[in-house]
Symmetry: C2
Subunit: 631 residues, 2 copies
């Protein structure tokens, strides 16, 4: 199976429609302004000279590339001549920065000339190249223009000449993975096998002894053991991929790497790669927050160990959840198993989407599951959405994901079509030998009903496969008004029949409020409960609920889902009765009473309101908690 | 009131008897060996030359001084000619290191000659001097020998010439307080008013503008703002003492400072100092663990903010609890209020005593209230008793406290006698004009009965004041077999009458097992409960209870106290029924089930056993928790 090209899908209205509009109208311009103001665009003029301030940073190129990718994808669904012209301008600058041999990197061209490809372990040359390639592919697909595509093809050809198994070539691979999946994309677009082979080389060579980063460090005259993270696990290069069983190191690197490995497995059918990916997936699941956030630690921006999921210090980078989504979607092409789609959906609606403000102009880099501003003062500056970051990977990552979301909804192999996500809009494709339009009308995830209407040029036999989200307990399906018995296989119902023009399916996904409990080995969540409805994980904000630490949810609590059209742009909240600890009024305590009493605490009944996690910190700043104490 | 001199008291048998014996027989020799092995003794020979390894460290002198103080105090109650001879040897070395002008500091004499007194903020010259003075006083009191006393008098005279308000004098004060209380001690022993005045100068000058540490830094050619902690709060020198309302900075420094301030308040009767101390006491209470540990943060070894009392990362240095005891005892001399004795007792039996292994040879520097070795690997090395520390302040501190404990049990003003602590042994004193021996027979804190027998040369009228510990709810008292009505004033019952030889009091302190709840503002303890019996706080160890995170205590649990003669040298344990979370067996779960379920967790009944906190980590290494989740 393959996903539909973005141009064959359209998201309209519903939950995601307004995000796509805000993306082009607010997020893309806001990011451009930040990039221009910080010198990232200007850098491609190569005017920087030693001694000048603000030298081009090693990852600046990737920010511009990801912005081009995001902006281009928005043009597919929302044509915008002004934005297209701006893209042309930026692309002309980039083209002008390409060196005669095809090399293209602002930092190494002006700041460290002569040091190209000498520190793959820590610098981001191949990472930036990968994002430029993805941008070139996206821009071509969106506009049909080859202006950036030809540039990145020349750059890819140059990289292909430098790296590989040949005796004169470097046997290295990127410290920050990304170029692998980009090369596979370029191969699928151009049919040029060399890009596939180079992507495969980067995947297969990774972690082979003797370790390239050690060789490379010695060549620089450095002790290979003496570097920041002191373990090749940080870059997932500690072992060849088939020997990896545990998700380790920097999360975003890991997600991009596993995505590239999944692409390779898809192209080659190599079962040993799929087996490795499933082992790594199991490991990620044991290290994943309920929000689909991964990476608890700011220290390595990465994995630590199973069940280590502190809520308050959670790093859970937006990019890591975006990367998890991208990897999980690729797993669906290897194995139509709804568990991957469930995880993709969890990351999408919670840990990734939380990275963007409702108005599209402010961002989270870190996505903790609990914030107590009084305590936090000691840990780090108050957690609040920012308009930019020095290390600005997250804004463009959530932006490019939203822009291309349509391409992840459906996949087809020509004989069948699978619906992975319930998102209002339309898809056009050819299946069972006929042209088909599939329309989804749904208010998912706010409501559980999904209407699917098929328009066919002529009747045709094919299988339509519908994912039943893992959180549904009693889904129901009607075909042209008649109930269909549901027998999902790996989470997908397959309806194989001769379809007629106008056939209508109504899928009713039950959307109760779930209380969620973590595995007891997650000590941070012991005795605690989270609330989830459909794919949305909820949280409590201080602005609705006052002091959050003192709230506890009785197991018997009745929980009600309520649509509030005027709140946060219109959201379903979860409301109910909770208990609030009643501290003894200080005035009633003896002086110097101290903190410890032998009387158990007293609780009073209070109402509480939970909002979707992705909407938090869009009103006044304050505290937040996903996990409530259960009583 | 004043405490009795150590030589007028004797601890025999009971809870503390074996600690005092282990102290002289095991702890004192173990510490001496460590000091000799690490060069701390040898350092006084002043043989170190630039370029040699292991230069005398700025706080080494204090380790030796505190060892002398501890060893000397043990001689008062347990004569030991061998130890006395060893003391003579060490003292001869120290005397030999004294400079012609009286100065005495190994580090500055051989490592940084010429830099004396140039960095009071960060170096420990006056701190080491203070401990040497305390050692000289203790050695004289214990042996009658002036060998060390005369040395420290010469050193005190030298310091008195350097520091003070005079135009040629330095207007500084110690970065690490200690010398203040030592000078007051030296004054009380010698009657030499100059030492009192110098101690008062150090207290009163502290924090006065312009700030001495800034002046001193500029004199060194440094930016006064550029130092490790970047706030004078770290050294409690941010404000003059009477303006201080919040306990801040390094905890041990704070405790020694407040002790010195209490000494000054006692000598001068200055009510404004007592008021400041009470404000600071209130602040300490809001930052104190249930164990009497203070200082949650390894960062500054000190205070952070009210209610910030994480159990797992708790620093709670042994020295800080020793210091809290020393300060609280001094508060009793300003105001006979049992709240100070309650806090002293809490620190003594829990946060301080936990610093010493049952055999007297291993030590805790940090005293966390929860240890999970699996999690801890990421935070710091596994927490386990050590035989020494590079920064070795804690071993000698708990040792010197145990050695002089007898002097803190009773105080008298000649007209009355107050009993602050229930410790088996004997005291000899003069009160109401007659010589009296007061004998305590008690197994406190294991049992609640205390027998007090008075032996008088002749009948005498005086008040006998008995502290009722704050945790007792229904104490009973019999005088010569007849019940006495109890009307405690500030926690002390006062029995004023004409006492006869052979009068016998039997005090029955109720010793139920208390469940203890923290103020809800202590978020680390929310929904949790601790167990306490008498002054002893209990904990659960992994060796008795398996995995601790999964245990929860039902509010209805029956808790039983049981003496176990063969456990940990004989302790009362607390036993009962708890609930243990039953994780789904991994084999029964679908692969890739993930961590999150919508079914509430299942618990099973299990027995648990809690042991006194001070006894933990005396068997096999493992997990520990003071606070259990309540269910």
């Amino acid at each position: 199976m393959n996903f539909l090209p973005l141009s064959s899908t359209q998201i309209e209205g519903g939950f995601w429609g307004r995000w796509q509009i805000a993306n082009q109208q607010a997020t893309i311009p806001a990011m451009y302004k930040q990039m221009a103001d910080t010198g990232r665009i200007e850098a491609f003029k190569l005017n920087w000279k030693p001694g000048m301030p603000n030298p081009p940073h090693i990852f600046w190129d990737s920010d511009v590339a990801k912005w081009i990718e995001a902006a281009s994808y928005t043009l597919v669904t929302h044509p915008n001549p002004g934005l297209e012209a701006l893209l042309d301008e930026v692309i002309a600058l980039i083209a002008g920065a390409q060196q005669p041999d095809g090399y293209l990197n602002t930092h190494y061209t002006v700041v460290e000339p002569g040091k190209r490809w000498t520190n793959l372990r820590e610098r981001h040359e191949l990472y930036c190249a990968g994002h430029l390639i993805e941008a070139g592919v996206a821009h071509f697909q969106a506009t049909g223009k080859r202006s950036l595509l030809d540039v990145v093809i020349r750059y890819a050809d140059h990289i292909d000449s430098v790296f590989g198994p040949g005796p004169q070539q470097k046997h290295g691979y990127p410290g920050h993975e990304e170029i692998e999946l980009a090369l596979f994309k370029l191969y699928r677009l151009t049919g040029e096998k060399r890009y596939f082979e180079l992507g495969r080389y980067f995947v297969e060579e990774r972690g082979q002894p003797p370790h390239y980063y050690d060789i490379e460090a010695r060549a620089r005259g450095e002790d290979p053991a003496n570097y920041l993270f002191k373990t090749h696990e940080y870059t997932q290069s500690h072992l060849p991929v088939r020997q990896q069983a545990t998700a380790v190191g920097h999360c975003v690197r890991a997600m991009y790497f596993y995505s590239g490995v999944a692409d390779l497995a898809k192209e080659t059918g190599d079962a040993s790669l799929k087996e490795a990916l499933d082992r790594l997936y199991g490991s990620v699941l044991r290290q994943m927050y309920v929000t689909g956030g991964i990476g608890p630690s700011r220290f390595n921006e990465g994995f630590s160990r199973d069940f280590d999921l502190d809520n308050e210090t959670a790093y859970a980078e937006t990019c890591a959840s975006v990367g998890l989504f991208l990897w999980m979607q690729r797993m669906l092409l290897l194995d139509l198993d709804a568990q991957y789609a469930d995880t993709a959906e969890r990351a999408l609606y919670n840990g990734a989407l939380s990275g963007l403000s409702l108005d599209g102009t402010h961002f989270f880099y870190e996505n903790p599951l609990q914030v107590n501003r009084q305590r936090e003062k000691a840990l780090r500056p108050p957690h609040h959405r920012q308009d930019w970051f020095d290390c600005a990977c997250c804004p463009s990552n959530i932006s490019r994901l939203i822009a291309q979301l349509g391409s992840f909804i459906y996949s087809t192999d020509g004989e069948s079509i699978a619906v992975h996500h319930y998102i209002q809009g339309r898809a056009r494709l050819e299946v069972g030998g006929t042209r088909l339009t599939l329309e989804q009308i749904t208010n998912y995830p706010w409501e559980g009903q999904v209407r699917l209407v098929l328009s066919l040029a002529q009747p045709a036999r094919f299988a339509l496969k519908l994912r039943i989200p893992g959180c549904c307990r009693g889904p129901m399906l009607c075909l042209n008004g008649r109930a269909v018995e549901l027998t999902p296989v790996k989470g997908y119902i397959s309806l194989e029949r001769e379809w007629q023009d106008g056939d209508e399916l109504i899928l009713e996904l039950d959307m109760p409020v779930h209380t969620v409990y973590a595995d007891p080995r997650v000590s941070a969540d012991l005795g605690r409960v989270a609330l989830q409805r459909g794919p949305l994980v909820y949280c409590l904000e201080g602005v609705d609920n006052g002091a959050l630490d003192e709230l506890a949810l009785p197991r018997s609590a009745t929980l009600e889902a309520l649509f509030e059209p005027d709140l946060l742009g219109g959201v379903v909240t979860i409301q109910g009765e909770a208990l609030r600890l009643v501290p003894t009024a200080p005035a009633l305590k003896p002086e110097h009473a101290g903190l410890y009493e032998t009387e158990p605490p007293v609780y009073m009944n209070v109402s509480f309101k939970a909002v979707p996690y992705f909407t938090w910190d869009n009103r006044q700043e304050g505290d937040m908690a996903v996990w409530m104490r259960e009583i």
